[in-house]
Point group: C2
Chain length 613, copies 2
């Protein structure tokens, strides 16, 4: 079982600060669609999920990693404890926290659900993939399925009886989804014969649920090539009769699972559909060739989810490193560097360790602020839906624009932060005795799945920047601009606001640069620069949100006695923002300049010149 | 056994370029101390070691990782194949390639040995630790031991009969070596009773050799506190009689080994000395309290060795990614982005993948150039030793100055490069089927052991920069300055030389800044800035060496027909240098400016403000 030092930890104070001090969720509570929700309910959820994460999912994080999944008699066995955690999680209701009440959810705000998700995923990211993929698949059926499909599947996919998956990738079709060759042959009665091999299917088999509902991208015979010819099918592992009872086994087998660098508790499966030409599937809804559109709903949901995984693992690794740095004594203070007999101090007192921790704190809290901002847009959208077109378009636009940022930036940083956490633990960080090396291994997949981070960056520059004639980008940059205007003479944060201003200008210039490249058809420049741009834009947003948090914290600090625990918390907000401004934002203008200079060496060099042929 | 795609690969052409085109090893060959060595001999070594790495050590890299080491009946069992590889390695003579002929070595140049070491370590870095730690320990005994000790131990430690270790770390004494509490009590007959627990001892036990000779740092009773009171002891696992025969088991047990993130084939042991008060050790040499000085000889050797491990693993990961990018087809060329029916291309043709590969190539080849430069200084030192004081001081100074650079920069980059390699493999990179995720896990320890990379950076700024009144630093910066002067009007490289010039000035300004901080006693600024400075200085040196290589390659290109394989190789050298200048060197001036601005947020922030208390 977990050592005390390895117990899952989260900074609940920061959750409450973001929800109720920075983003003012309370303004949306007590009225539709959150009429049932008040601040007290939200706080109870935070406390309840935290306890659940510490007591139920957290203790199986290390076990899941070391045991991993295995195949026995053609079925996947998940690690010890996962089945109990699965049952308890559904019973506790946390999976359905943010889901619509119509499908049995609690209809909680998305921002509160994000906080809950951070704790569930941060305590055991591999385990948490099973329920979140299940509800994601259920939502696709809810949105696009027929009345009959909703009746047949949703209930059992929202109480833990059935699990769900999304099946896109094939051996030859990874990032290039349109190359998928899994086929669907109409049987004439609305059913299809599915045939093909899917790989990298998370939870593709498991022993948690009675049945598994696969959502499978396949091409109906004769449909056009590429993504446009793909349709989405419901393919249950065990066929479901019209009365809801389980029928025969479908022709869908799991020949093997992958041995991975991390997330070992999550079974990554190869799935063979129709080896015996007897795999029955049904179209999601009634219209064929809508597969990509339908899957993209799940993908967008999943991309935000993966960004949250990054935040979750980063947050947990930071808390572990912070706790260790406060306990581990090594060396003496630099204040007494001339005295060999000076007392040993906790390593948090060493400037470089403290700097690393502050870097981690600022990055984690900044990404968390980004996550809450994004989900608050979802909540605000829900509040204005059908009432205010302008506001609706604004919130929708921000969600769309921020999605690739959180997916890619949070996950790239998760790996970095776990790496720093290992370094703070020193040699001990390299051991499986502590949770940070697992965090690092788990985190590596986040930058790859649900669209690699490169694909996110191309989504950002190729679609999102120009969406609605550039309106969403303008709105975001305008919001930042407004903040700068209001704070550039701020007593404490004025200098940092000036740094933010220059970063803001630099990012704006990059946006224009991309526009120019697109207009002139200089296409090769775009993929060379897109990843760096996504990072710069993410840093800009994160730096702004940190400064905004600091300005709120400084206001509150004035009325907070030093003896109150909030005092230290607010002081921390100030330093995190100032640090981030001086160490991260300050680099943006020069990095943007380099990006715009657009050195083309990599494109011009002939591939043979890599040698080794 | 290894899949074809997982076979170890190295770029032998680059080895030959560095040795014979850029650094002109041939000028030192055929005369003392390399009278026995000519170009042909060197090339035979390169080919021979490569074949050995591919056929003998490489195939056990993945097996070593998945099997790991285990304890059976109190003894460590290494993975399958390690014992055979150990025997073959000693028989082939590669371990002793660069060692002095007096102790049975082949007396090869250090630069050639570096190339050999890259291949041995790149093909199986965990395995290669056993022989290199053994010869390292032998060299300490050779240098500081008594005549009797040399006779008793060296022979068997240089033919694979005995293995060796270095035992520094204790649970409470990691980076803070001076806190070691292992004790030594004189028995009056020159022998000592050793008592204490050492941890993180690589190869602390193994089934490869008949006996293991531990070099143990311990404090003789009554000696002063801190590092100055430490002595170094020879503590054999099995006592060695004066006639060289093995006697009784010493009181030294291995209660456990660590379960780690990587280098699983290397047994990381806890060693208990003297649990039964019967652990006999003898002082290395005759003078007590010389432990740190003696150990530091091994440490300096080991630090360069760890830098070489970083290069080795980075080089191997790059070769794997390059090969995969040339085989894997996915998506169509950006040149045909409007045509959904365009042919699928190898992913190396995608600009971002090509850019990643070029980044990896430039970084790996630049670090390799740094490694060869450093070891060429060792060779040149050997050639002038006792003949030319000025030249001797110059080469010694450069070795000393470049040691922390290669240790820290090569190992930080190894992790980054393995990470990029995983990303190029996509989801497949996350699987144990390919060698890149192991490379990433193996590499993480390099930034920690033999002095963390932070400690390297403090060694650089606190000791090395100012060594000899700053003479070594001046000499290095002067060498770069000279190159700039000669190349700033270069037709192809002139623009890059100008970028180098600005980077050079910026690094010079940082050196002065550190001097100022030291002089004014602003000590806390130093550890906040040292790691970034080490990186900037390393990038400067690496960028310079890449540009130097490119200028040589461009000269040769003029006489190389396009049909000759060297043509592509030389073109690659040009692009690697120009890329590195525009993407890495170009950032140095701004990063140096930020470093010098020396934001102190992290130091000023009270530790309580991290919250979570």
């Amino acid at each position: 079982m977990a050592q005390p030092l390895n117990r899952y930890k989260a900074d609940l104070r920061d959750f409450r600060f973001l929800l109720f001090e920075q983003f003012r969720l309370q303004d949306l509570l007590g009225k539709e669609p959150f009429a049932e929700w008040g601040e007290d309910e939200c706080n109870m959820v935070i406390d309840g999920v935290y306890q659940f994460a510490c007591d139920v999912t957290g203790p199986y994080n290390h076990i899941g990693d070391t045991q991993g999944c295995r195949i026995e008699d053609g079925r996947v066995k998940t690690p010890d404890g996962f089945k109990q955690a699965w049952d308890k999680l559904w019973a506790a209701g946390w999976v359905m926290l943010g889901k619509p009440t119509e499908i049995g959810g609690q209809g909680a705000p998305a921002s509160l659900t994000a906080v809950s998700g951070e704790m569930l995923s941060g305590s055991n990211t591999a385990f948490n993939m099973y329920p979140t993929l299940t509800t994601g698949a259920a939502e696709v059926i809810e949105k696009f399925g027929t009345e009959r499909q909703r009746k047949l599947y949703i209930g059992k996919m929202t109480d833990g009886t059935f699990a769900g998956t999304m099946c896109l990738t094939e051996p030859q079709a990874g990032s290039d989804v349109g190359s998928a060759s899994t086929s669907a042959k109409a049987l004439g009665d609305g059913r299809y014969l599915i045939k093909g091999t899917k790989i990298f299917i998370s939870g593709g088999d498991n022993d948690l649920a009675e049945n598994i509902i696969h959502l499978v991208l396949a091409r109906i015979e004769g449909a056009e090539k590429g993504t446009k010819g793909l349709s989405l099918f419901i393919v249950p592992r065990i066929r479901v009769e019209d009365d809801g009872s389980l029928g025969e086994l479908n022709d869908c087998v799991v020949p093997s699972i992958e041995h991975k660098m991390g997330i070992n508790g999550s079974a990554t499966c190869v799935l063979n559909f129709g080896d015996e030409d007897d795999c029955i599937g049904e179209l999601v809804g009634e219209v064929p060739h809508q597969g990509m559109r339908q899957m993209f709903m799940l993908m967008n949901f999943a991309r935000i989810g993966v960004g949250m995984q990054g935040l979750a693992v980063a947050g947990s690794a930071y808390q572990s490193a912070l706790e260790y740095a406060r306990e581990r004594k090594q060396g003496s203070s630099i204040k007494h560097f001339k005295d060999p007999n000076a007392a040993r101090v906790e390593i948090i007192e060493h400037p470089n360790i403290k700097r690393d921790l502050l870097h981690m704190k600022a990055t984690v809290e900044g990404i968390r602020a980004l996550a809450i901002k994004l989900t608050m847009h979802q909540d605000q959208l829900a509040a204005v839906e059908g009432k205010d077109d302008v506001s609706e378009a604004y919130h929708e636009g921000q969600i769309s624009l921020l999605t690739p940022l959180i997916k890619a930036y949070a996950t790239d940083q998760a790996f970095r932060i776990a790496e720093r956490a290992i370094q703070i633990f020193g040699g001990h960080g390299y051991l499986q005795d502590h949770p940070v090396e697992q965090a690092c291994r788990d985190a590596k997949i986040f930058s790859i799945y649900e669209g690699t981070n490169f694909i996110q960056s191309m989504d950002l520059v190729g679609r999102k920047l120009g969406q609605g004639g550039g309106k969403n980008t303008e709105a975001l940059l305008g919001d930042i601009q407004k903040w700068i205007g209001a704070h550039q003479d701020h007593e404490v944060l004025g200098e940092s606001a000036t740094i933010l201003k220059k970063a803001h200008e630099a990012v704006g210039a990059c946006v224009m640069q991309f526009l120019g490249w697109f207009q002139r058809g200089e296409m090769a420049r775009i993929p060379l620069a897109s990843e760096t741009f996504l990072e710069l834009m993410s840093e800009l947003v994160v730096g702004w949100l940190l400064l905004d948090a600091a300005s709120i914290a400084l206001d509150k600090l004035a009325d907070t006695p030093e003896s109150h625990p909030d005092h230290a918390f607010y002081v921390g907000k100030r330093y995190a923002a100032v640090y981030f401004a001086h160490h991260v934002l300050a680099a943006i203008p020069h990095r943007a300049k380099m990006l715009r200079a657009s050195d083309m060496s990599a494109w011009e060099m002939p591939s043979e010149a890599f040698g080794g042929l």
